[in-house]
């Protein structure tokens, strides 16, 4: 199948989703309220949030940085969760409305079809991302620093791309099992707390050295960790101590992203075969 055809499928998928979101006001209201409650929540918790001095020493931050620490987590989380949830939501919705069969009986690319949902959600999320992003930059005192802006936007984009494959895995689960959402939700919570969204990965070392070391190596195998770490590096500057040297984090993140996408592509073919054979969720 030609690149032109695949691109057209992706474009039309984005077009469909954007039209749907624009006409669905409750969706916008829901997203808006989510962002407001997230920001207010962090503002409230930020004051009461406490990291032990040992943890702060490991990440190179002070107590005053904690609100921004969480905001950076929220920004990255926003993009990674879009990528994580969009294909799953797409498939669940298509199963619910019965459109999945109509799509799967066409010769179009399944990967492109699923990717289009992530892209559409990202575009919509930009509307809500920008105010949150500006607030974080302003609080960090880097609002006018173009280098920081450039790098942080790049990390946000990478965060999304690197999570697309994970989103595809979750989407595939939805093809096979109707109750995939429960598993995905649980995994997503784990990702938030284990990979550094709101708690620094370095902090596990303080809890227990053995556990901390194990966690460090586990988290280093997943792209989420680098997304959070790199975003904080560019927001806080050199005072923030990253898990690995920056260039290493970029290299591993790039390799992970490509590798995960290749695996997703292969898995998607296998999953469709399995679904066809057993007549599971989509059928």
């Amino acid at each position: 199948m030609s690149i032109q055809y695949n691109s057209r499928v992706i474009y039309k998928g984005v077009w469909r989703d954007l039209k749907t979101y624009v006409r669905y006001r409750a969706f916008f209201m829901g997203m808006f309220l989510e962002i407001i409650s997230l920001t207010l929540g962090f503002a409230i918790i930020g004051g009461a949030y406490y990291f032990s001095p040992e943890v702060l020493a490991l990440i190179g931050l002070s107590e005053n940085d904690l609100f921004i620490f969480m905001m950076t987590g929220a920004i990255v989380q926003m993009f990674s969760s879009i990528a994580t949830w969009a294909p799953l939501n797409r498939i669940e919705e298509d199963i619910h409305y019965g459109t999945l069969e109509a799509v799967f009986v066409t010769p179009s690319t399944r990967l492109g079809y699923l990717l289009s949902s992530s892209i559409a959600r990202s575009i919509i999320s930009l509307i809500f991302f920008i105010p949150l992003y500006i607030l974080t930059l302003w609080l960090a005192g880097v609002l006018t620093n173009l280098t920081v802006i450039g790098f942080t936007l790049m990390v946000a984009l990478i965060a999304m791309i690197s999570n697309v494959a994970v989103g595809l895995y979750f989407g595939m689960l939805a093809i096979l099992y109707r109750q995939a959402r429960i598993f995905v939700s649980m995994t997503h919570q784990l990702i938030q707390f284990l990979f550094g969204a709101f708690l620094p990965v370095q902090g596990f070392m303080v809890l227990n050295k053995g556990f901390g070391t194990a966690m460090k190596y586990i988290t280093l195998a997943f792209p989420f960790t680098y997304n959070f770490d790199l975003m904080r590096h560019f927001i806080f500057g050199d005072k923030y101590i990253t898990l690995l040297p920056i260039w290493q984090e970029f290299v591993i993140l790039s390799v992970c992203t490509v590798l995960y996408l290749i695996i997703a592509r292969v898995l998607l073919i296998a999953v469709e075969k399995k679904a066809k054979k057993q007549g599971l969720a989509i059928l």
Partner: protein
């Protein structure tokens, strides 16, 4: 060449607890240009078979060729050339998009050019007179209108063969008639092959050139609707008594003793009697009616597709029930 050729098709659904054999060696051939109907009770395997043919489901065994292409090895090529209208598809649209936008989206999935899509839309507008379905969001359309969009989607990319699984399920008679007339007009005009399932016998009778009856995963009869009906030797006289009239035991007894009447059944205000010689039975029954001062509404019918369906499927369905 056949539009569809199925030989010994088997499908077994496996779960942890049990195995269900949905198709048990199904054989079928459908000619190009035919509108072909598949009848069968719930669970007979109609939908499973349609899904296998349209590449949505894998078979366990056997051989299926769609438009001369192997359903496993050449599924991508098949997908380009077939249309599919699934069961319960009334809702299978993007509710916030208009009818036209829904079709436009699928046109992209079929890689249709903009010109081809515009031409096809015009064709649809010529065949389906209610044009508001194209401009309104689908969520604001009635069930019949939504179904019209779904049916058009099945024909959108000008496929050579369309699989249609219960196209008028759940629709009121007017909406169902509109859908039927669209399918009939469009398919006949374009010379398309359609393989359709339905539980509505009149729909199959009206649309289909030939019919297969599937029962318990196998084809038990294939022929034209007329031949199938002719094969079931039923002549039935029906009397509907007026509200002021009563069928007394003497009246019933007298009718039952007629040589041309095989038996008399009283059902829902009707007297139904299979007869051997319709004209003789009619005369004799009318005479008895006059004798008892009864002036019924009387009708005569031969076998319908429903009788054919019952002949092949009723016995075991009853046992299962």
């Amino acid at each position: 060449m056949y539009a569809l050729e199925a030989k010994g098709v088997k499908k077994t659904y496996k779960s942890r607890k049990k195995e269900t054999e949905a198709l048990k060696g199904l054989n079928l051939q459908v000619k190009e240009g035919e509108i072909f109907g598949i009848l069968g009770p719930n669970g007979a395997g109609k939908t499973t078979f349609i899904k296998i043919c349209s590449t949505l489901l894998g078979k366990t065994d056997g051989e299926v060729k769609v438009l001369g292409l192997d359903v496993v090895k050449e599924e991508k090529e098949i997908r380009k050339r077939i249309g599919y209208i699934g069961q319960d598809s009334e809702r299978s649209t993007y509710a916030r998009l208009t009818g036209k936008e829904n079709l436009e989206f699928f046109a992209a999935l079929y890689n249709m050019s903009k010109d081809d899509f515009a031409k096809q839309l015009e064709e649809f507008k010529k065949t389906y007179d209610n044009h508001e379905i194209f401009d309104k969001e689908v969520m604001r359309l009635s069930g019949g209108q939504k179904q019209a969009i779904v049916v058009m989607r099945g024909f959108l990319h000008n496929p050579d063969l369309v699989f249609a699984d219960e196209i008028s399920k759940g629709l009121d008679p007017i909406a169902a008639k509109k859908i039927r007339s669209f399918v009939k007009d469009y398919a006949k005009k374009k010379g398309k092959t359609i393989i359709m399932t339905s539980q509505i016998m009149s729909e199959i009778e009206e649309l289909c050139d030939r019919v297969a009856i599937i029962f318990e995963g196998k084809v038990v009869a294939v022929d034209t609707p007329q031949n199938l009906m002719d094969d079931v030797n039923i002549q039935l006289l029906e009397l509907r008594l007026r509200s002021t009239e009563t069928a007394t035991p003497e009246f019933l007894q007298e009718i039952a003793t007629l040589d041309s009447v095989k038996e008399v059944k009283q059902e829902n205000g009707y007297l139904r009697m299979p007869v051997s010689d319709s004209s003789q039975a009619f005369e004799s029954v009318m005479e008895i009616c006059r004798k008892y001062n009864i002036n019924p509404v009387i009708s005569y019918r031969t076998a319908t597709l429903e009788d054919v369906f019952l002949k092949y499927c009723d016995k075991k369905v009853d046992l299962e029930a």
